[in-house]
């Protein structure tokens, strides 16, 4: 298998909309010199579709997010934390949104939200970390060195392309680990720069890199490349960005994504998260869960409305998931333990709003009191890949990325794909 570095060299002449520093300059020196003069601010001409993945880490309680208020079994399983119909944002005769999920309700009302019921996989893991890895790699009860978004990027762009994937956070999620591309990873855009005096900058520009002495060393050089290619673009994007909407109190990192889209970055795949297992609501769940949902859903709603205001809503879709749902029955502490099947959401103007999938039967639980999934979560991935990102360009892209064929859901079928590819 070729290393990313050799691929980089092979694909070094791939042109992008961005002017890069001269190739004769060593990658490390480039990264360290951060030669701003050669980076021209330029609005990208790309109109490629964009996928933003939002991970609600810790296991969001789907049953208390989109509440099946018409189902008596729901209230039997949850005598104290079950939410009565009159305390919900009504959605239809069967369902209502948690009060905190006002953002979802607003997206639902404008037809921009697809709710996919019953998503999961066989032999579910109840470990946060194992299950998250299954979702990140799209390989339940197995594994892959690269993430599903990384492999997706590799299939869309088989040669190394700067700024193809972006993950916002203090560490890189496995979901975006790619064989071909070096993902851009940052937390605070304003700190994404090498601070340096001008004499030092000149000096560094002349330095030849040390030949990599180990795989770890080689890895560092790759990261240095990515840093150089992205940092100034990201900082500029952020400093020029003025939010038009109310994103709420803690909108995850979606305003940063909006800033990058507004600045015309060529990134097609973004990953953000509600971090640190926040949704792991074992104890005293109702007030906490409502608050968490308000943050997440405000952020989601604000993001979509912001894209509309920017005129970019037609080319962005958001996919929302957790590593698992929660146990159907409440526990003795007013909370819920780790569960299995859960909701997923696809949101955005290109989405045909509505219910998809089949809600698991609350009276026919698995032997371990958990929901039996009805939709393989990879069907939703396949839908996002084939019906959204690939457009009419590539057929069967999801086969390539996911390793087998998954039946798509008709989430994009009734709205014409508005991106001319």
């Amino acid at each position: 298998m070729k290393s990313r570095r050799s691929l980089l060299k092979a694909g070094a002449t791939t042109s992008t909309a961005l002017a890069l520093t001269p190739l004769s300059l060593s990658s490390t020196a480039r990264a360290y010199a951060n030669t701003s003069s050669t980076m021209t601010k330029k609005r990208s001409v790309t109109s490629n579709p964009i996928l933003v993945v939002v991970e609600l880490s810790g296991g969001n309680d789907g049953l208390n997010t989109v509440v099946p208020h018409s189902d008596p079994a729901y209230y039997q399983h949850r005598p104290t934390i079950g939410i009565p119909r009159n305390a919900l944002h009504s959605l239809d005769e069967q369902y209502g949104f948690n009060k905190g999920a006002l953002g979802l309700k607003r997206l639902w009302d404008t037809g921009d939200l697809a709710v996919i019921h019953g998503c999961g996989y066989d032999n579910p893991s109840y470990s946060h970390f194992s299950s998250a890895a299954y979702w990140h790699t799209a390989t339940p009860n197995s594994g892959n060195e690269y993430g599903w978004l990384g492999r997706l990027a590799d299939s869309l762009q088989p040669t190394p392309t700067p700024n193809m994937l972006m993950g916002i956070g203090t560490a890189q999620t496995l979901a975006i680990k790619s064989q071909v591309h070096s993902p851009v990873v940052f937390d605070d855009p304003l700190r994404f720069q090498r601070n340096m005096l001008s004499e030092q900058r000149q000096m560094l520009a002349q330095l030849q890199p040390s030949a990599a002495t180990s795989k770890t060393h080689d890895f560092m050089n790759d990261v240095a490349d990515s840093a150089q290619q992205a940092s100034q673009l990201v900082r500029q994007a952020w400093s020029q960005y003025q939010p038009q909407v109310d994103y709420g109190v803690a909108p995850m990192d979606l305003p940063k994504v909006a800033a990058c889209i507004a600045a015309g970055l060529p990134t097609q795949i973004y990953h953000v998260a509600f971090r640190n297992n926040a949704f792991d609501t074992h104890v005293q769940q109702p007030a906490l869960h409502q608050r968490l949902l308000s943050y997440a859903c405000d952020g989601l709603h604000g993001f979509i409305r912001e894209l509309e205001a920017m005129g970019e809503a037609h080319r962005v879709v958001v996919l929302v998931h957790s590593e698992f749902g929660r146990r159907v029955g409440e526990n003795a502490n007013g909370g819920t333990d780790h569960g299995s099947a859960n909701l997923m959401f696809l949101a955005g103007q290109p989405v045909t709003g509505g219910h998809y999938g089949t809600a698991p039967d609350l009276t026919k639980l698995r032997a371990d009191d958990n929901l039996q999934h009805t939709v393989d979560f990879r069907q939703v991935y396949a839908t996002a890949i084939d019906a959204w990102l690939a457009g009419s360009q590539v057929t069967g892209l999801s086969n390539q990325v996911l390793g087998s064929r998954f039946t798509r859901l008709p989430i994009f079928d009734t709205k014409p794909n508005r991106i001319a590819t």
Binding site: G103, Q172, M196, M203, A211, S214, H282, Q284, D337, H338
Partner: protein, 612 residues
């Protein structure tokens, strides 16, 4: 040829620059017979083979690095005595100071309700909460309760920052750095986070366990941690009762603390959870509420009996998988990321044979040929805390500077002490490096050599432009609380989280948050904000260095385990000469400091400096 000689010959061939350079060069070569023999070989390195380069490697892994002088002193001892000195310290060393409490705790704060709504519900029901009475009448009668709630959130967090500083200084001062390095390992293994625990006293108490028992028996450590209020809070075990066992604690004990995924089943988790029912704490002490404990028979890991929690832990430790899991994790942290499955089984057997005595097991690892094999050296990415403390040690600092702020720097690099991201702790290895974090590592050195004069500690004084500062300014300009706490303007629909913030007439959450902040900074002692006070000129002159080339190679030897290329070093030397206007260091001594600092910043920003 014996390995040590091979290393020395290569080091000489590389211009005698640094042992790391030699190590690096051997890695892409076909493995010599010696190396093959040393890899995964647990027999001890002989005294004859042991040298200052090995000692430097040992210092970096079993501690937080040191100066070349530290390494050569250590090299005079036998490998075993060297490890023992690092784990037990020196008798002559000064006693380490205990943590100084600011005195922020009020008795009414314990037990602290789970949330602001839980606090105000309690106040509504009982007429008081957190030791504060609800006002009998008047505006916002519950406001003082809400203020007290936010006071403690902020005060405990600030005090936790001081605990982290205290620990950082301990890492720098201790003569037994292996204790602190191992405590840092256990802190990532038994991870708890102040954000959820919300009580610096519990965080400190747990840290003391990790420091005092981290090199003892793993069984004792496991029991102590499992019965520790910080852990019980963090994993919701305090509310685990027999009618409805909470599985969170039992699951993490098996998955993350002892066995690892794949060595237990869901049924084992449920049965273990029953055994832990009733485990709770009162203030800072563990207790078992017998009425909540499930005394029925449990079946797990192939055994049946009326097990209690400690018996379950013992049952777990009997599993070979537990010993392999712990041994493998220790190995990856202290030695090398890659190890073969058969070697991991062997390590597990060794740990079990040592009756889980961690100090003895580490001595086995750290004196083994495997530990000194070239592939084990210079192959790890230093963790943020390790990077920062070892930089201070190598610079010869006597305490941790307050500017740059230790917690902000390490947090910005992905490892804020007492705030690990999840119960799984930190991921280590490559996860420490992202494009942004590579820059941050260099920026840390810049802030160290040229202090950031715009620095205002934002943990204590919220940064300009933040919402709480806006509230502050609006209140001072005479706006009433309702208007002062309205979120600053955006048009369009207001977000639910903003609408919910002030939905209750009896109190104002944002005002409480603001007032709580003020109350906290009055009580919490400040972190001293002195800078690093470097004396690079003195170091260079004391070492009698006369040319730029000597300065660079002196620094490479002092700071690096994997040396930058000879060409890079030559270029840096040329740059120093240009900056000085002469190649004569002595002649330039009156204005040496600033060019030296520029150079050191460049040097320590190189990728090679991240390897240890």
């Amino acid at each position: 040829m014996p390995l040590c000689k091979l290393v020395m010959v290569l080091a000489l061939a590389a211009g005698g620059l640094h042992p790391g350079a030699a190590t690096a060069q051997t890695q892409d070569q076909p493995q010599s017979q010696d190396e093959t023999v040393w890899l995964e070989n647990l027999s001890p390195i002989t005294r004859q083979n042991w040298n200052a380069d090995h000692a430097a490697h040992l210092l970096s892994r079993a501690g937080f690095g040191g100066t070349p002088q530290d390494a050569s002193k250590l090299a005079k001892l036998s490998p075993k005595r060297a490890v023992r000195q690092l784990s037990r310290g020196q008798r002559s060393a000064p006693t380490l100071a205990d943590f100084t409490h600011s005195g922020v705790f009020n008795p009414g704060l314990d037990p602290f309700p789970s949330s602001r709504p839980a606090t105000t519900n309690l106040a509504k029901a009982e007429g008081q909460a957190l030791g504060i009475q609800v006002k009998p009448s008047g505006n916002r009668p519950m406001q003082p309760v809400v203020n007290e709630f936010f006071y403690w959130l902020r005060a405990s967090r600030l005090e936790t920052d001081r605990v982290a500083y205290w620990w950082a200084n301990r890492m720098l001062h201790t003569s037994a750095p292996l204790q602190e390095k191992t405590a840092l390992f256990w802190h990532g293994h038994f991870a708890t986070n102040e954000d959820k625990v919300r009580d610096y006293r519990k965080m400190l108490q747990q840290l003391n366990i990790l420091q005092n028992h981290g090199l003892g028996s793993f069984r004792e450590l496991l029991v102590k941690v499992a019965q520790d209020p910080a852990m019980l809070t963090f994993l919701d075990a305090g509310v685990n009762v027999k009618d409805s066992p909470n599985e969170n604690f039992a699951r993490e004990v098996m998955e993350l603390f002892t066995l690892g995924v794949g060595s237990y089943g869901e049924n084992d988790v449920r049965e273990a959870a029953r055994a832990f029912t009733g485990w709770n704490f009162q203030a800072l002490n563990f207790q078992i509420n017998q009425a909540d404990h499930d005394t029925g028979s449990k079946t797990l890991l192939g055994k049946t009996g009326n097990f209690d929690g400690v018996e379950v832990l013992d049952l777990i430790l009997e599993q070979p998988a537990a010993a392999e899991f712990i041994a493998g994790k220790l190995y990856r942290y202290f030695v090398r990321e890659e190890l073969s499955p058969t070697f991991q089984v062997e390590l597990g057997q060794r740990l079990q044979a040592l009756d889980y005595r961690i100090g003895d097991f580490l001595e086995l690892l750290l004196t083994s040929k495997d530990f000194y094999a070239p592939l084990s050296q210079g192959s790890r990415i230093k963790g943020p805390v390790e990077l920062v403390i070892s930089t201070y040690k190598k610079m010869g600092l006597t305490d941790v500077p307050g500017t740059p702020d230790f917690n902000l720097v390490t947090g910005g690099l992905g490892q804020r002490l007492l705030h690990p991201p999840t119960v799984a702790g930190w991921s280590h290895g490559r996860s420490w490096i992202t494009p942004s974090l590579l820059f941050e590592r260099g920026n840390f050195v810049l802030d160290l050599v040229f202090p950031d004069i715009s620095f205002v500690p934002p943990d204590r004084y919220p940064s300009y432009g933040s919402e709480i500062v806006n509230v502050h300014k609006r209140l001072r300009s005479g706006l009433d609380i309702s208007n002062a706490t309205k979120p600053s303007g955006t048009s369009g629909e207001m977000a639910a989280s903003n609408m919910l913030a002030d939905a209750d007439e009896a109190f104002n959450t944002r005002y409480g948050s603001y007032r709580g902040w003020q109350m906290a900074i009055e009580r919490v002692l400040p972190i001293p904000r002195h800078t690093a006070r470097l004396q690079l000129t003195k170091q260079v002159l004391d070492a009698k260095l006369t040319s730029p080339e000597q300065v660079i190679s002196y620094w490479v030897e002092r700071y690096f385990l994997v040396a930058p290329s000879a060409q890079t070093q030559a270029q840096l030397a040329t740059a120093l000469e240009q900056a000085l206007g002469t190649a004569d260091i002595q002649a330039a001594q009156s204005y040496l400091e600033e060019p030296l600092r520029n150079l050191l910043h460049l040097l320590l920003s190189l990728p090679e400096y991240q390897l240890g």
